[in-house]
């Protein structure tokens, strides 16, 4: 039996990434990283900033996301996100810049707890890329 399932990553502009032969996907769900294999139970969850890793027999892809929603149903994984970057396209300068911007945001006082947590997560995820 094949172990493969379908993944779609959609951002507001277009279908960002679509493949039918992935074996495992690890997503940064809000309450912790979540690995998804074939025949996972139907689930809806949302993402915190982090890395999506996609594994298949022939390739491995990694993306950085800032937010998003995942839906898994009938071996279809849909990820909706408004900001996503392929790690290959993220240069070190760009990462440093993102960290700087996020740090500045973090230092503003009016942030709520959840926003602070998300910003923290973002910085952590960005640092882990380096």
């Amino acid at each position: 039996m094949s172990e493969e399932f379908k993944i779609e990553i959609v951002n507001p502009e277009k279908l960002f990434f679509i493949k039918e032969d992935v074996i495992e996907v690890i997503v940064p769900a809000f309450e912790g990283d979540m690995g998804i294999l074939k025949n996972h139970i139907s689930i809806i969850s949302f993402l915190k900033p982090g890395i999506i890793s996609i594994y298949s027999k022939s390739y491995e892809e990694k993306f950085f996301v800032e937010d998003g929603i995942i839906e898994f149903k009938n071996n279809n994984l849909s990820i909706l996100t408004s900001s996503i970057f392929n790690l290959k396209d993220l240069s070190k300068d760009k990462i440093d810049n993102l960290i700087k911007v996020t740090n500045e945001e973090l230092n503003k006082s009016e942030l709520g707890d959840q926003e602070k947590f998300l910003a923290d997560q973002k910085i952590e995820a960005l640092r882990s890329i380096n």
Binding site: P12, E13, E31, I43, I44, S45, L80, S82
Partner: protein, 291 residues
């Protein structure tokens, strides 16, 4: 009757206008293809988003504790209308159609004694509405700098709307935009985004029961604000495709009209030239005969 010189000048001026409208038509056609493409590409996102929300909201057992963005504030006193128009003119009835639709909605609300607040997106809508409803416009947003509709802009509008909702500034929010059907048809739409209209949710019966992590309420309260931005983005995409389509057909008409006008003026010009020649000939002949 106009002199020959005047006619000549008019023909030249109509011809140069025709050149401009022709060029604008070409530009609009090129932009239309792009806008249409991005409108189509943007559809999966809003559809998927809608699906998830439908699944979620039908999973919520206790309607009382549902987030207010979904169920509304329970009042319907203050209406917020987001009127989305273009920043540039010369696009046929595009802006007027939205405004007409919006105005009839406004007068309905006002006649029911409800309070009205307006946010205009795009400067043309603001220009047309401020004469009648100037005191009702609470915000005017314009994206003249951005070339294409992008999600970042839509998110900005969405955040403003959500902030205002959070401050209890309104109960019901409706967005007005043109839906792109084809190049000659654009349908002005009024879509209610707060509270979410779930009329067609019965058709999608749930086959799968989902597991939620964290629980439904928390996902919903995270998702609904995003949905607002998504709906606004969808409206912006449809709008930009409609704008280009409308401009294209308007400019096509203008080019054709200019062509007709040139033909008519040319005939007139030739006739009066011929008349002048004939007159001169008659003068010469009758002068010779009298000798």
């Amino acid at each position: 009757m106009a002199s020959l010189d005047d006619l000549k000048k008019r023909i030249a001026s109509v011809k140069s206008t025709q050149k401009i409208t022709k060029a604008m038509k070409m530009v609009a056609a090129a932009k239309l293809r792009k806008a249409q493409e991005s409108a189509e590409k943007g559809r999966p996102y809003s559809e998927k988003m809608n699906n998830v929300i439908l699944n979620l909201s039908s999973g919520i057992s206790d309607k009382e504790s549902a987030p207010k963005l979904l169920s509304g504030t329970g009042n319907d006193k203050v209406y917020l209308c987001v009127v989305m128009t273009s920043d540039r003119g010369l696009c046929g009835g595009f802006n007027s159609n939205i405004i007409k639709k919006a105005k009839s909605y406004f007068s309905k609300i006002l006649s029911e004694g409800k309070e009205l607040k307006i946010i205009t997106v795009g400067s043309k809508g603001n220009d047309q509405l401020k004469r009648m409803y100037g005191d009702k416009i609470i915000e005017n947003i314009s994206f003249k700098e951005s070339k294409n509709a992008n999600y970042f802009d839509a998110d900005k509008v969405g955040k403003i709307v959500i902030d205002k909702f959070g401050n209890n500034e309104f109960d019901i929010c409706t967005i007005f935009y043109n839906q792109f059907k084809n190049v000659i048809t654009q349908i002005p739409q009024a879509q209610q985004i707060i509270p979410l209209n779930n009329e067609d949710s019965d058709e999608n019966s749930l086959e799968a029961s989902y597991e939620f992590e964290p629980d439904e309420d928390e996902i919903l309260s995270n998702l609904l604000p995003k949905n607002i931005s998504t709906q606004i983005f969808k409206a912006m995409l449809e709008n930009s495709a409609s704008e280009q389509g409308s401009r294209m057909s308007a400019m096509d008409n203008a080019t054709r009209n200019a062509g007709e006008m040139v033909d008519k003026l040319t005939i007139q010009y030739n006739r009066s030239r011929q008349a002048a020649i004939t007159k001169e000939l008659i003068e010469i002949i009758s002068g010779a005969e009298s000798l």
